[in-house]
């Protein structure tokens, strides 16, 4: 088991499903002149669990928004290979901020995507309650967002993204606001689900440990301008469990990933560490 360094090619070595989406030379320049992404090439295969890892401000959220179609690239193209059959409303998205309806209670917030698909409260209730239980929020159905703690809000947001069982799940630091124990639990839950249904996950995280534990491919990005610094496969078999988490292999992988991340941060144009 080792980190397989891959060239910055659109094809990842470890992909095994058919191609779902390819980003080709994608760039994003905001109207204020900030280049958030430049020349990003990335292929996502069906069933991938892909992590985006990188320093703050390197364009991870921007990339996720591009993939979700919430933003359009200023250069390059997104190639949805199976676009004929792919429906954008089959994407689940966990925003970096909770993004809840402030006037609706927890139940209604999680119900929302189902409601938009036409499911009545009664029809949706079992799924909603199940998701709420998964994120340990049973009993808080009637609380409104301002009555929740930061982590609880984020969990509502996670429940909402997953309640539709989407084909593609885009998650922007979903577990960042959770304690490590709960986080591990949710990591395990997510992996279990993923193995069962093999949807595609693009997962933004700041945690090297989390990215290595969860994903079959890790994309490390660098900032100024945001770009893919290195991409590698994590060739550990699934299911991954607590044993894997404590294995020396995992530790080694993490250390290597860490080194890549350090490389990415240092490769950032001087300005990043100006102050020092």
């Amino acid at each position: 088991m080792k980190l397989e360094k891959v060239a910055q090619a659109p094809m990842a070595a470890s992909g095994d499903g058919p191609m779902l989406l390819a980003l080709r030379d994608v760039g994003k320049v905001f109207s204020n002149g900030v280049t958030a992404l430049s020349d990003v090439n990335l292929t996502i295969r069906e069933g991938d669990f892909l992590s985006l890892l990188g320093p703050s401000g390197c364009g991870k959220s921007t990339a996720l928004r591009l993939i979700a179609g919430l933003s359009t690239p200023t250069s390059g193209v997104l190639d949805w290979r199976g676009s004929g059959s792919f429906d954008r409303s089959d994407i689940g998205f966990v925003f970096q901020e909770p993004t809840l309806l402030p006037w609706a209670d927890v139940f209604d917030n999680v119900w929302l995507p189902l409601r938009l698909k036409g499911l009545s409260r009664a029809k949706a209730a079992p799924s909603v309650m199940e998701m709420l239980a998964r994120v340990h929020l049973t009993g808080f159905e009637n609380a409104v967002p301002r009555e929740l703690s930061g982590g609880m809000k984020m969990r509502v947001s996670i429940a909402r993204a997953m309640v539709t069982r989407p084909r593609v799940l885009l998650m922007d630091e979903p577990f960042g606001a959770l304690d490590e124990i709960t986080r591990f639990k949710l990591n395990n839950d997510l992996l279990e689900l993923w193995q069962g249904e093999r949807f595609t996950v693009v997962f933004v995280t700041h945690s090297v440990f989390e990215s290595v534990f969860l994903s079959n491919r890790v994309v490390v990005m660098a900032a100024r301008p945001g770009r893919v610094f290195r991409e590698f496969a994590v060739d550990a078999p699934y299911p991954r469990d607590e044993a894997f988490r404590t294995s020396p292999d995992y530790a080694a992988l993490c250390r290597q990933a860490s080194d890549v991340l350090v490389g990415a941060i240092n490769s950032t144009a001087g300005s990043h560490h100006d102050g020092h």
């Binding site: 979700a68 429906d87 954008r88 925003f95 993004t99 402030p102 938009l116 698909k117």
Partner: protein, 283 residues
């Protein structure tokens, strides 16, 4: 626990101050406005006396009160007529204002194309176009309603439009991602988000529909028995019956305040679970 007791004094001042203030505020909240109101009325009385203002110009509050009592039957039956127009036109203003705002929210095109007409309606002096209304509208109530509506609908339209356009970007993205239809976006996102703005507009429109009802009656004239407060005011003015004129004005003011309080309450009840403007200060 004695140790604690020993320390409490060090934080008492701050805490005690807060508690005292809270209690004061609870009482003051109702007492002070009342006191100020009474003070204002007393001042009015004093001004009349000190300046020897004759009662046909500005009657003393006591006289007005007396008139309010003596002419109660007449004034209240007129009040009912005015109130009827007020509430009907407020209802229409809500329907019209929100309806138009929703329409405008559908697309920038529609908004830019039809907002000018709304402005034209807002700025057209009713006195000037009333002859036209008078010619083409037969029903007296319809005439009055139309006039009052023209006066009242714009704040609701304008504020609701603003509210519909102030929806958090991320929430909008969320709805887009979930393939929400225009209608769903409106129903579940934009209308609730616009609520505080709409309710703000409603508070403005409440008073305006009252004044609109009065102005409409001024312009449209009264037909015999069904004359509202405006007719009373004109008549009282003409007859130099200042006490009755001011009694009518006081009635209008009281109703205005009442409408505002009711709308504020409604607004509070709708928003209290989530919007800053209505949240109780929980510390």
């Amino acid at each position: 626990m004695t140790a604690i007791e020993g320390h409490t004094p060090t934080l008492d001042p701050e805490e005690a101050r807060r508690l005292r203030q809270e209690r004061l505020e609870r009482i003051g909240r109702w007492l002070l406005p009342l006191a100020i109101m009474i003070l204002a009325i007393w001042l009015w009385d004093r001004v009349c006396v000190w300046n020897d203002i004759p009662k046909y110009i500005l009657p003393r509050p006591g006289v007005v009160l007396q008139t309010l009592h003596d002419d109660a039957g007449l004034l209240f039956s007129s009040l009912l007529v005015t109130l009827r127009i007020t509430f009907l036109s407020l209802a229409l203003a809500v329907v019209g204002g929100v309806g138009l705002a929703v329409l405008f929210a559908q697309s920038k095109w529609v908004e830019m194309s039809f907002f000018p007409f709304a402005i034209v309606l807002q700025v057209t002096p009713i006195v000037a176009i009333f002859p036209l209304i008078n010619i083409y509208v037969d029903n007296q109530t319809t005439k009055l309603l139309l006039c009052a509506w023209i006066v009242a609908f714009f704040p609701i339209l304008s504020n609701t439009t603003l509210g519909l356009n102030s929806v958090d970007r991320n929430l909008r993205d969320l709805f887009k991602l979930n393939g929400a239809t225009q209608w769903q976006q409106l129903r579940y996102l934009r209308l609730p988000a616009a609520m505080p703005y709409f309710l703000g507009g409603l508070k403005i429109a409440g008073g305006l529909s009252l004044i609109g009802a009065v102005v409409a009656e001024f312009v449209a004239g009264a037909t015999g028995q069904s004359s509202g407060l405006a007719s009373r005011i004109i008549e009282a003015g003409y007859r130099l019956n200042a006490p009755r004129l001011f009694a009518a004005l006081i009635l209008i003011s009281l109703i205005g305040i009442l409408i505002f309080l009711v709308l504020s309450l409604i607004s509070h009840l709708i928003l209290r679970r989530w919007h800053e403007s209505a949240l109780k200060q929980e510390r």
